[in-house]
């Protein structure tokens, strides 16, 4: 299961999450969603540190964050 889950239909391609990600794993993708925006996309799920900066700045509540439970 992915750590950064982006709801592509909610995303409006504003790029705020891309600008605040400290590990630079978010990009604006090339494909279009149903409303004609290019949604943000996570390039490397394993690098996510769960800092939740992206979820905090997202104006469209498109980002959900998860983390593996340590055994």
């Amino acid at each position: 299961m992915e750590r950064v889950s982006i709801d592509e239909q909610q995303c409006k391609s504003c790029g705020l999450c891309v600008s605040v990600c400290p590990v630079k794993i978010l990009i604006i993708s090339d494909r279009l969603n149903a409303r004609g925006f290019r949604p943000a996309q996570c390039t490397d799920q394993d690098k996510c540190t769960s800092c939740s900066s992206c979820a905090l700045v997202c104006p469209d509540i498109a980002i959900a964050l998860y983390r593996e439970v340590k055994a």
Binding site: M1, C14, G15, L16, S50, C58, D60, L65, Y66
Partner: protein
């Protein structure tokens, strides 16, 4: 076997899972989310009544699962006072922009603050009238170009911007007045804690509370969302300093 995952962040329950009508990058969405998170965390979902303004947030009632009413332009604090007086057990907040609160609704907000009834006001300050096309608002900065001040706002013809939070903090009625910014993750965290205090001021029955949120309007500022955040830090914050201007005893 699937890995067990814990939730770091998910959508609040009081959010209605709709795509908002706001422009890309508009911080109205951030303010909406903070409100929804706090309503969830403070267990207010069943007793919240929101009063929505005229302006960009006019359709705010579409996006939440709690009850909402729609006020006439600028009259949200008056309406909220009436609802709170007749339903003292409900949690009543208004959500207003600067064209609504600081211009046509200035009398209502000042008297609501002076009366000090326990209602909460979330005030979005983005320096223009966003919905109608970026006209000059009372909070437009000096020199800022808008559709009704095409050469930039000048004090001779347009007067000076109004610092609403400082002005209301002079009154004896309010319990909690603060100004926060929605420009970065750290400031959004601080904004949430200020809003929590404002909500608490009402829940504990201490008095009127208002949180002014410095927001962006990328479309009318003609900047990208990321540049708009920069503008808040460079141009807006020096004129509208962040901070708590009034904290009555018992607010936490």
């Amino acid at each position: 076997m699937a890995e067990e995952m814990k939730v770091i962040y998910e959508r609040p329950r009081s959010w209605a899972n709709k795509v908002t009508h706001y422009c890309p990058g508009c911080t109205h969405g951030v303010a909406h989310r903070l409100v929804a998170e706090l309503v969830d965390e403070m267990g207010l979902l069943d007793k919240t009544i929101a009063v929505w303004p005229v302006g960009c947030a006019v359709l705010g009632y579409e996006y939440f699962t709690f009850d909402s009413v729609e006020a006439a332009h600028g009259r949200a604090p008056a309406m909220a006072t009436g609802i709170k007086v007749t339903n003292p057990d409900n949690f009543v907040f208004t959500y207003q922009g600067d064209g609504d609160l600081a211009s046509i609704g200035m009398a209502e907000i000042v008297h609501a603050a002076a009366r000090g009834w326990p209602i909460t006001v979330i005030f979005i300050n983005n320096g223009n009238y966003g919905m109608t096309g970026g006209q000059m608002a009372p909070t437009t900065l000096l020199g800022q170009k808008t559709t009704t001040s095409p050469l930039g706002r000048t004090p001779q013809t347009n007067g000076f911007p109004i610092r609403v939070a400082e002005m209301l903090a002079q009154l004896d009625g309010p319990a909690y007045i603060a100004r926060v910014s929605l420009d970065s993750p750290v400031n959004i965290r601080k904004a949430k804690s200020a809003m929590r205090k404002a909500f608490n001021a009402q829940v504990r029955g201490i008095g009127f509370s208002m949180v002014e949120c410095l927001s962006t309007c990328p479309t009318n500022w003609k900047l990208t969302p990321v540049e708009s955040m920069e503008r808040i830090r460079k141009e807006v914050m020096p004129y509208f300093p962040l901070g708590e201007f009034k904290v009555a005893q018992g607010v936490l």
